[in-house]
Amino acid sequence: MANTWGYGAMTNSLGDIQNAKAIIIFGANPAVNHPVGFQHFLKAKERNNAKIIVIDPVFTKTAAKADHYCQIRPGTDIPFMYGMLNLIFKNGWHDEKFIKDRVYGMEDIMEEAKKWTPQKVADVTGVPAAQLIQITTLYAKSNPGTLIWAMGLTQHSNGSSNTRLAPILQLALGNMGIEGGGTNILRGHDNVQGATDMACLSDTLPGYYGLSDGAWQYFAKSWGVDYDWLSGRFKSKEWMGKKGFTLARWWAGVLDGKDGNDQIHNAGTNLKNLFVMGNGITSIAQQAKVKEGLDNLDMIVLCDPFVNEAAILTDKQDDVFILPAATQFETSGSVTATNRSVQWRSKVVEPMYEAKTDHDIMFELAKRLGFYDEYTAGMKIKENKKDFTWPEDATDEIARIIKTIGLTGWTAKRIKKQTENWHMFDQISGRGYGEMKGEYYGLPWPAWTETHGGSPLLYNINRSVAEGGMGFRNRFGLEHDGHDLLAGAGSAPKGSIQKDGYPEITAENIEKVLGITLTADEKKRIGKNWKVDTSNIIAEKCMEQGIAPYGNAKARAKVWTFPDQIPMHREPLHSPRSDLVKEYPSFDDKENHFRVDTKYISKQTEKDWSKEFPINMVTGRLVNMNGAGMENRASKYLAALTPEMFCSIHPDLAGKHGIRDGSMMWIHSPEGTKIKVKAKYSFSVPEDRIFMPFHFAGHFQGEDLSHKYPKGTKPYAVGESANTVTNYGYDIVTQIPETKGGLCRIEYA
């Protein structure tokens, strides 16, 4: 996404889905994961006669509400989308003008799409050719169409290719930057977008600034700390710019390449302590390895309102600390929703018993580690204060620093006013009434200035920049292979002084692009470019001239820095089709991938996995639970809905193994691990695959670990974690685990 057009976020909003005429839901299950948001899908059907198309390996609650359902084989999303593109280009259903003016590199996609005829797609994906033709025809002819996805597209070894081809499909049809169109990626948890924006990531500073020296210099200055002090905290200066470990593979950092584990590149040492704040690490792939990692740590600290089941999983007896963290009701601050909009959350009660808020825990830790003053300095800068007020000053600090995604408009005062007046906005367009006129609900970023009303619909050139319009971001240079990467003639946002494409705005080009002359004082105060201009002169001047500070460029179908320049099909590391593995092999093994050597082709070809492990395995969520399920299973009424861990299995598959409805079964993984779960007969899965929820913990490979819960903390429901048997496999760019489609073997227990 970010590599296609600038930002990796939902482009439209849940409310805007009501404007769609066709909705493809690809590897997502909003009826279960976003039940309240799903009303907009249903309303689109009711009010707009929109057709819902669901593409998923498992028949979900969302599929039950669909007009068309395709049961695709896990990990074959790319062939399916190329199959659609094949028909779109062949029949001339693509938007030629849009592609010419606003997209770079589509010719390569057209070439690749030619290979994917409906018959070929049917063989690889398992979706009948007639159905592919029917769906593509419907989708291409129903404008606008929106494309929804979630973890079903991302959690694959080539997930980063999936999430590029889906935007390309929308670009081909000209479905971008319009009401009812867009790529609407649904974020899974409360404030995931906010957490990502604030860099709960190991490869960037907050606001996606990256880890370059320039970025560190900018942040040192903005945080009010000495750059040399900051770099002195690292082993050496070069380690400042290196990516860290990821959530998916931190345990490899502990195991240090011993006993056949993947080698690490961590300055000659391994990880010794683990500090977890509100993360259900028992819902991460390869639980046996997670356990091994936990067992080999010197110290584990777990901060959560409920007992984090990492403490139950590990055999470690000493130096495991469980800190009671406060819940959302016991603290306040801003949270960011899936559509980049922000809301203020107020405190309902003071933290109860010994619980402390997350920020208090962090402050106390910073004090003990001796950098509390530096840690909190940034909050005092704006008004040159002696002390700070939490969380208002933290929110204002974010607004002051983060220009890349346009958070300048997100001051604490504005966010509070928005939330207090949330009844004064239109539910579909998000436009404000009365006092809130001129603002969109939640000020969806980018909100370029302190008076900008937000941008509910990314890349929409039919609105002026001041009203939330913009072209694609100029992020990948001005030209590639001799081709101009700026947008074509006449494709600038409405009311712009520039009618064509233009580069991102810098102090150097601002006068030329905007056709203005800066005063001597402005020249003195202006920052180097729009991303680091804390004076806000660039943004303010841009608004006056109708210019998007980040430029107006073409989206790119081709990413020349990726292993696959255009998305290519590659079979999952564990594929049931060994014949196709030869034709579509995985990537070469990747050295030092987020500090860990990661296997691709060597794992895929280690043996013919499908012989021993013939059944596909898909994991997913239940409506009554989220994440690792710690807090949900501790609720009597939620636990009662699914009191036991189960596996959905087709009666015919179960029958072959003598497994009856409700009896126990073993599931074995290629990694040599196994789990014992209850069989649940279901027609939602075909005979070649099984489905399991991933919210359970407390059992491990057949053993009940319930005795390990501290007194009075055992949840109402415990069970095997599906992730004990999810397979090895990580995305080539992001390292997200390949949990949506591995292999397994089953037997009666």
């Binding site: 009826a31 359902y69 009424y637």
Partner: protein
């Protein structure tokens, strides 16, 4: 709400996604024992394309309530607004009402034999019971009385897709009628012409 209003539930099967928000909200609000399901979500033909439907079911507060007609101790009473309630002090737990009810709404505690411990429990449309409104005893026996506070019953308030509707039956039928009539809005109503049949390129 008009003076003659009769309060009804209606569950729109095109909207219900079986999220169980209603049943969990109900259990939580009235602090029900684990085996009492005042409200349940039923899914038919699970996993079969085109045939899977879900509905949220509880006491339907019938105008001509069969439970009331068969009760040997006459513990039921129907309010003017149509809500069917019962008096737990009169109930003997015989379960005749369960036999009579077409929806399986009456619930009995499973931790004792019929008649020994278990008096019947069912959906009150969040309107409490015959005890003094909002008294401690009413709360203990029948759960919250939200209607007396002018609030919507908790199940419908929590419904994530607004499939479950509750209120004046006339208004509910208006809301549902609007949904049904608007379905198909924007659909092609003109007869098939040349371009539809053969495409615009020919």
């Amino acid at each position: 709400m008009s003076e003659n209003a009769r309060l009804k539930f209606y569950c729109d099967e095109h909207r219900c996604i079986s999220c169980d928000g209603c049943s969990v909200a109900c259990a939580e609000a009235h602090e029900l024992p684990a085996n009492i399901n005042r409200r349940k979500v039923i899914t038919m033909n699970e996993g079969i394309f085109g045939l899977e439907y879900s509905l949220s079911i509880a006491c339907m507060h019938c105008t001509d309530a069969p439970c009331e007609q068969v009760c040997p101790t006459d513990c039921f009473y129907i309010r003017e607004d149509g809500i069917v309630l019962h008096d737990k002090d009169k109930c003997i737990g015989c379960a005749y009402c369960l036999y009579a009810c077409p929806f399986g709404a009456p619930q009995f505690p499973a931790d004792g034999a019929f008649g020994v411990k278990g008096v019947m429990d069912k959906c009150t449309m969040c309107a409490g019971g015959p005890e003094e409104t909002n008294s401690h005893k009413e709360r203990e026996l029948y759960g919250q009385n939200r209607i007396s506070e002018g609030k919507v019953p908790v199940c419908a308030a929590m419904c994530s897709t607004k499939a479950l509707l509750v209120g004046d039956s006339a208004e509910i039928s208006d809301i549902y009628r609007e949904r049904v009539l608007s379905a198909g809005h924007g659909a092609k109503i003109q007869p098939y012409g040349w371009s539809t049949a053969y495409g615009s390129k020919i």
